[in-house]
Amino acid sequence: MALIRRRVVIGGVGHLYQGDLDLGRVAVERLGREDLGGDVVVEEFSYGAVAVAQRLQELQPELLILVGAKERGRAPGTVERRDVHALTDEPAAIQGAIADAITGYIDLDLVLDVAHGLGGLPARVVTVEVEPASVAPSEQLTAIGEIALARAIALVRAEL
């Protein structure tokens, strides 16, 4: 396995053109254009979480920042920063997450559960989550999603 150590990895988890669910992908697209320093790598993680976990094992960051939209019943546009701790160590739950990932599902929580279960998460993990205003298919974020995106990007920058 080729190791490419980076201090910080910023990963976006999104769904192409699925309204505000695309936010994670758009966020890393914009952050990728910025000069965030040589020890920061910005990547899109909108794909199977097993492959994401393997990629994280290659990158071996000290800090992982995951950004994306996730429906949790909060007010639309809510932006939350979370230090990730206490992920499940229950084998059945981890295997459930891996099975979902293999069956093609893409989700921020799946990345966390699968990467944790397969030993791909660094000691420090931060998520920057947005509550989507719309998950109906669209090539643009909603106006609320755009405002939330700007706040989410600012929160990501503040972590560096």
Binding site: M1, A2, H15, L16, Y17, Q18, S46, Y47, G48, V50, A51, Q54, P91, A92, I94, Q95, G96, A97, I98, A99, D100, A101, I102, T103, G104, Y105, I106, D107, G117, L118, A136, P137, S138, E139
Partner: protein, 633 residues
Amino acid sequence: MCFKNLPVEFDAAGRAHLRGGIPDPYSVTVTRPDVAMTDEEREEQIKRLMARNGHIRELNMDPVTRVAGALAVNVTADLEGGRYLDARSQATLFRGYEVIAMGRDPRDAVFITSRACGVCGGVHSHASVYAIEMAMGLAPPPMGTVIRNMGEAAEMGYDNPLHLYLLAGPDYSEAVVKAVNPELWPKAERWKCPNQEHHGFATMAEIMTELNPLTGRLYQEGLEFTRLSREKFVLLHGKYPHPQTIVPGGVATTVTMETLNEYHAKIGRIFDYAQRMVGVWDDITEFFYEADDRYKLVGSRPMNFIDNGYWDDPYAYDATYENCNEWGEKRWSTPGVIIDGELVTTRLTDTNIGMEEFVEHSYYEKWSGDRYETDPGGQPLSPFHPWNKRTLPRPSEKSWKERYTWATSPRWDRKVMEAGAYARLFLTAKAQMHPNSDFIEATGNSIRMKIPHGFRPENEVEWKVPEYWNAFERNRGRAYHYLFSQLVGLESLLEAYRLMKKGDTKVAAVDHRGLEKAIPKDERRGVGFWGAGRGYLTHWLTLDEGKIVNYQIVTPSTINAAPRDPWDQPGAYEEAVMNTPIIEKFSDPKEFTSVDMLRAIRSFDPCMPCTTHVHTGSGTVVREVNTCACGAD
């Protein structure tokens, strides 16, 4: 004559024609397949059984996976009789890549449709590129095709062990067997593995222990070898999944001797592992057959397969529809159709013109209007063919009798087909058309595969056309397909070395400027006859004025997860579940885990997100045909 239902016959030159004298020949009421049982008859049967048996239960196994609302299977089970009386496979997730692609520059389709699946990282890119380059008239140079072959062999090297050890394998692990089939464990402890010399495990119990999720050695090894294959793919295409180097007319990859040597070093590690894999899945299959004969019925259904073939002959593939039968039959795995275990065609034009997609039980409107009456070669096309299909979403309440899924019902010759990596083995074995090889030999009823020496000496294994078709044979077939795909990867690598030696290193027909100029302004059609780890994959497109005016995708899971069709024929999952006996032991219906049904469904390597790939915003299509892509974003 490969068609039994469609009114299509062939002249002496092998060209298909519509049989004369049949008004409205493609009408679903005029041309009907033989159906064993209608839904009405099935319902009557259930009512009769319910009247005299209190053990009939309707169970909604929702979700089959942990993600809510993605794949549900609604079954009616006779728990006392130990059988499933009815099953409905429901896909409730819908997205929109076909519709999103419309009105765009054709080159965009490669990147958009790649997102149809998060696991199959490169197959949609390839299928899309095949369709686009056919429409553009761009044939890749030999090295371009060889690099594609090597990349796709690597992709199969990712998909197959991922499924066998991380998804299906746990169903046969110590943890699951002790919980749901405890009577098997003492047998497993006593059962001596015939393939111990290949995989190193003395008893079936040892194999089952090593299949345990997360902790088992086979599980962990499966994960490790997916990593190795992912690295092989990345060597060639920069990233996995969603590569950006697969382009119409070839690849945009810089290939050096170092690239080939690195690929060689990685593939060399795979063959010992492949030998262990086929030994493990041979032994699992034989153990279950010996333990209880009823396991031969788990997931059983007729041997009806469709596949496009895979991995091109770099000197035959010319990206034309006109010659697709010639280059198709020269693929490493042969395209075609198998019905009831018999090979009926190896011609890509037959697989294409026999394909129809029905939406009677899906959340879509039927389409109508102008249509192509023939393929580009003048052979008849159904109004239900994907080149004629329009995606008209119609969300509605779920009704088992009416509409209940976002999946559609693809049928070939109005028959229920199955897609899978193993279909490649059936077709290649029976057709005996594959290129000459030191490693692969089809015999008509089997494929002999010579495994090059690694740490172990050279060895030969043989996949035989099975007597039964069920969940176990799907898994066994997938294990042999892993070896087959890696041998194709090796053959392609050797071809790449030969081309490199000759200095024939051009990988694309044109550069990006040439590609821009190659976009046609007139109306063109293309079809990407390709495959995925899960089997048959086809993209169809129509271009006009340089933009996409229709884009259609049929994935392997669209075929396998299909609902009923206009004649009440159940889809492949539905049929496989209805044929599955309930073998698990339980004293209380609350303890019923339906493991036999889950083994049946998981043996297909289900991928639900790529089954439904049409989106709707409040019931309306978001993008319109022929909008100008330059102003879309």
